[in-house]
């Protein structure tokens, strides 16, 4: 199997180190080869496209130029969205592409046909059966609300990730490792994203709604595939408790942490202790750690 060029995204070296680490260990376990893009830079996230279209395209083009492979994988839903959106725009607008080339001065971009995947797609594509075969500790009895958020699935014309209203890829992976995905309605509702900084009250309202829906559906934990969603749903539970006097006590794990647990990767390597709402009590209750 050829190696994927791996774009970790900024959070992977900060707030989401446990995502990066569990990604690497799960991929190693499955024999999926990742090669980090050397000297990668920020994709621009929301602030770049929100105020300067050309900048948002140029930052992605720069990373493509640095990429050792035409097949790229990232674990961040926001980076994934920026990459796919920029590639889509550049492919459909020649003059725009010429403009971006002027800005980036690429050396290795010509004639390359890039494909960008989210980690969920790569592991799903690897095969549910293949994952199932390697499970050493089925997550029996653990009810999981799979949360996809906005940017993996929307806009569907560009992302073409899964059913935009009721995506299933994460649910299928979670089921493959023996856990029980719950049916719920908030899979693709927005967490408020960057408003955590300028308007935290918006994020508290949106994340409260998501966490309440997960709880009502009977979930023990929420599973996510984006560092931004994770921190909004996990860290902000402290503010929800303080300001709204509501306690959810709902652990929010990266899907790679759950897969890793089932594949027999050690607790320390998966970084459960880095999460704000500690998942270990519920995992212990289910006899999983």
């Amino acid at each position: 199997m050829t190696a994927y060029a791996y774009f970790p995204g900024c959070s992977a070296h900060g707030t989401a180190k446990e995502y990066d680490r569990s990604t690497q260990s799960v991929c190693a376990k499955l024999g999926i080869e990742l090669e980090e893009i050397p000297d990668w830079v920020c994709c621009g996230a929301s602030p770049a496209h929100a105020v300067n279209h050309l900048l948002s395209l140029a930052l992605v083009a720069k990373n493509l130029d640095l990429s050792p492979s035409d097949t790229i994988v990232t674990g961040c839903a926001a980076c994934y969205n920026r990459f796919k959106t920029a590639i889509h725009a550049l492919q459909h607008d020649r003059p725009l592409w010429e403009q971006v080339k002027q800005i980036v001065q690429p050396t290795k971009l010509n004639g390359r046909d890039f494909r960008v995947f989210h980690l969920l797609e790569v592991i799903h594509e690897f095969g549910l059966e293949g994952v199932k075969e390697r499970v050493t500790k089925p997550l029996k009895g653990l009810k999981v609300a799979c949360y996809y958020g906005c940017l993996l699935v929307r806009p569907p014309k560009v992302m073409a990730f899964d059913d935009p209203d009721n995506p299933k890829k994460m649910d299928e992976l979670i089921a493959a490792v023996g856990a029980e995905p719950v049916e719920w309605e908030f899979k693709t509702e927005c967490c408020g994203a960057f408003h955590a900084v300028p308007h935290p009250e918006i994020v508290l309202r949106l994340t409260s709604n998501i966490l309440r829906a997960a709880k009502d559906a009977g979930a023990d934990v929420v599973s996510v595939a984006c560092p931004m969603c994770q921190i909004n749903l996990d860290l902000r539970q402290l503010d929800i408790q303080k300001r709204h006097k509501v306690t959810f006590n709902m652990p929010v794990l990266y899907f790679t942490q759950l897969l890793g647990l089932a594949l027999g990767i050690s607790e320390g390597e998966l970084g459960f202790d880095r999460l704000i709402i500690d998942p270990r009590p519920i995992l212990r209750e289910k006899g999983l750690v």
Binding site: H13, G14, V51, N52, C190, P198
Partner: protein
Amino acid sequence: MKQATEREQLTRTDELPIVLTEEARKFTEEVIRRSGERVDWCYQCGKCTAGCPVAFAMDIEPSRIMRLVQLGQGERVLKSKAIWLCVGCQTCTTRCPQEIDPAKVMDTLREMALEKEFAADKEVVTFFRSFLDNIQRYGRVFEPTLVLQYNLRSGHLLQDADKGPLMLFKGKLPLRPSRNGAIVRKIFDALGGRRQ
């Protein structure tokens, strides 16, 4: 020439009942040209507003922004808080029956607002500026100085001050920034050094 039928009379478009001033028309045209989106196709079904997760906090809801753009009400649109509250979740873009991309229109409106130095939502503008400065400096986001800079510039000095030690304890804060700032600065320079 054949007499126009009643229906043809009713659907004539050469003299629309809404007459835009030259200035209003220029605004509408500029938004359509720059965003590449046919805002004039919007027929006010309201789906974008109904699905918008932040409409509750907006001064002017997305569907009304679209209508105001059609009517060339540049100043009202560019001075609204709504264009800064749009979080880019793409729900409207996914659902618009006219296949307009309102989230893209919002991007264009923010660009135009900044060019006119309108920044109706100080917090969001300050955050975006701090973020872009941060990646120009380091190449990748370095959370500790990003939060610090935002707090200093916005005047919300103690916001999330309680989170710092916890995040540090949890190993969720990077200790050293990336050194790829030069790569990003080159791109900003090529864009004319516009820091936005």
